[in-house]
């Protein structure tokens, strides 16, 4: 029977696709629930279709306030972490200095430490330095830059290390000054890596709960809002935000992919 043979030949691919499909099940539920018209606030089930949640996202103003805070912290910590991390990645790939391997280890460790341990140690530092009364925007910012940094370094470093340096040599052979070579050749080549690192960093910051919850004082970020609202019943608008985050990140990735395809076709 040809159908059975086809299945046998493609078994691994089919199983893989099944796993992939399973990862999308909760997302489908999030999208569905964003159109939910709940019968009661504390019972979480699909009761009826409505566009209300999309039309009135800020029905609960405290949710939008939390979103705003998450955005501001996400943007600022991404900016700082991406800058510092990119500099460090250049140092690690392009320069030789004493302590290079210790620097590599220092970059690796935050990725291997559980969040609850990083968060609680940072809190003890803030308490010990008398900042316990000032927990809020800046302490969250400091924490987010700290755990985003390593991911930026690793992302940019792998882009730099995989780069062909013959283009830079060619530029130098054609009498480009070092700064011309950097801004016209090196930087454009590394840029996709930097952009990817920035996206990763923003989503890590925007989504963080465990570290933030320990170091936030009275401030409430979006994940903390969801956590707090969960006991009394989460407003359906939370699912609208979840859907938007999903769609926007897919869009960014697809546009990036199309862009790089167009460019590689232009080169070929």
């Amino acid at each position: 029977m040809p159908a059975a043979r086809w299945v046998r030949e493609h078994l691994v691919l089919l199983l893989g696709l099944a796993v992939l499909a399973y990862t999308f099940v909760p997302i489908a539920v999030v999208v569905l629930m964003s159109f939910n018209d709940p019968a009661a606030r504390n019972v979480y089930s699909f009761d009826g279709f409505t566009l209300h949640n999309w039309a009135d996202i800020c029905e609960d103003p405290s949710m939008c306030k939390a979103l705003g805070l998450s955005f501001r912290i996400g943007l600022l910590s991404t900016l700082v972490a991406t800058t510092l991390g990119t500099l460090a990645a250049f140092a690690l790939v392009r320069h030789d200095f004493i302590g290079r391997s210790s620097a590599n280890l220092l970059i690796f460790l935050p990725m291997a430490a559980p969040e609850i341990v990083m968060g609680s140690s940072l809190l003890t530092l803030f308490v010990a330095s008398g900042a316990s009364g000032h927990l809020g925007f800046w302490t969250i910012f400091i924490a987010h830059v700290m755990f985003c940094l390593s991911f930026v370094v690793v992302t940019v470093r792998s882009r730099l290390a995989g780069m062909d340096d013959t283009l830079e040599q060619a530029a130098a052979d054609l009498y480009a000054t070092p700064s011309q070579t950097f801004w016209r050749v090196t930087f454009p080549l590394v840029f996709p890596g930097i952009l990817g690192a920035a996206l990763l960093s923003f989503s890590l910051s925007f989504d963080d709960f465990i570290v933030t919850n320990l170091n936030s004082g009275n401030s409430t970020t979006f994940p903390m809002y969801v956590w707090g609202a969960y006991r009394v019943g989460v407003p359906m608008q939370v699912n609208v935000i979840g859907t938007i985050m999903f769609v926007v990140s897919i869009a960014i990735v697809v546009i990036g992919e199309l862009n790089s395809r167009r460019r590689s076709r232009a080169l070929a």
Binding site: L13, L20, V30, H95, E115, V117, L125, V145, D207, P223
Partner: protein, 286 residues
């Protein structure tokens, strides 16, 4: 890039200094203050301050009081890591060897679901596994679950949630390792009359070990510290250590207890990682 191209001189230090300083001040120094806090006299309070009395007894006390949440965290994380390894291996293998020109697209799809907020997608699992949801009803219909049995508020739900949320941490390193394997090696094994199973366990699996080791570590470590899944999908009978640490710091204002728990968790994880990496024979990864 060859190592010979690396330039010496001041620039390297200047580029490295900002990130190094940030990590030293806000990652390394905090560990010191965490250990110090764990040795404070527990009779103090956040308001009156604590006395440093090298109170090692804290460690014995918290182990005695909280060994159950500790065991639970480790156990749930280990099970979830195992499930991730099986599911992740199938997925990574399929993408690396069977996806052809769809490789990049599929890799994007692996990460895509995880751009939705962690808490929102865990809440979504809560709905899927809820007592009146179709999953529970179908399982009851085929008598895999009794009429009174539930999925929510059980350890199984927590493990499933962990296995779901940390799957990309497993798939990506596995993919990186499997993708590097030369398919001709697998073909060679079949030319030499190895059946597909022997071929897999003698060729593909050993070559993918670096990915297996880094994937399991990247899954296990965050899963052991996580308490969001336990809170949303479990009940108060399944409190995990992350939950206890958070509560002791913020609600109970008992910093020395929370700090000793944190230090213990870190030590347990480091010890397990060292044993595991040595057993797998992949020390050079660290």
């Amino acid at each position: 890039m060859a190592a010979g191209v690396r330039r010496r001189g001041k620039v390297g230090y200047l580029l490295m200094v900002p990130a190094t300083l940030w990590l030293l001040v806000f990652f390394v120094v905090p560990f010191y203050s965490l250990v110090a806090t764990s040795l404070f006299d527990p009779s103090g309070s956040d308001f009156r301050g604590y006395d440093m009395t090298y109170h090692w007894q804290n460690y014995a006390d918290v182990l005695q009081a909280y060994w159950r949440p500790f065991l639970r965290s480790i156990w749930y994380a280990a099970l979830a890591t195992l499930i991730c390894l099986v599911l992740g291996y199938v997925l990574a293998y399929a993408i690396a060897f069977k996806a052809g020109r769809w490789k990049n697209l599929l890799l994007v799809l692996v990460i895509a679901p995880f751009f939705t907020s962690f808490l929102v997608r865990t809440l979504s699992w809560q709905l899927i596994l809820s007592d009146h949801g179709w999953v529970v009803r179908s399982l009851q219909f085929v008598h895999l679950l009794g009429p009174e049995d539930r999925l929510l508020a059980t350890p199984a739900a927590i493990v499933a949630g962990l296995a779901y949320n940390f799957l990309p941490f497993m798939v990506l390193p596995l993919f990186a390792s499997i993708d590097k394997i030369d398919p001709r090696l697998v073909e060679a094994s079949s030319d030499l009359y190895a059946n597909p199973f022997v071929g897999f366990f003698k060729v593909t699996w050993p070559l993918s070990l670096p990915g297996v080791v880094s994937g399991t570590l990247l899954t296990f470590i965050p899963a052991a510290g996580d308490y969001i899944n336990a809170e949303f999908l479990g009940s108060t009978n399944q409190r995990v250590i992350g939950n206890v640490i958070q509560g002791q710091f913020v609600d109970a204002n008992n910093a020395p207890v929370a700090a000793s728990l944190s230090v213990l968790l870190m030590l347990i994880i480091v010890a397990m990682v060292l044993v595991y990496v040595r057993r797998a024979g992949t020390e050079e990864l660290l």
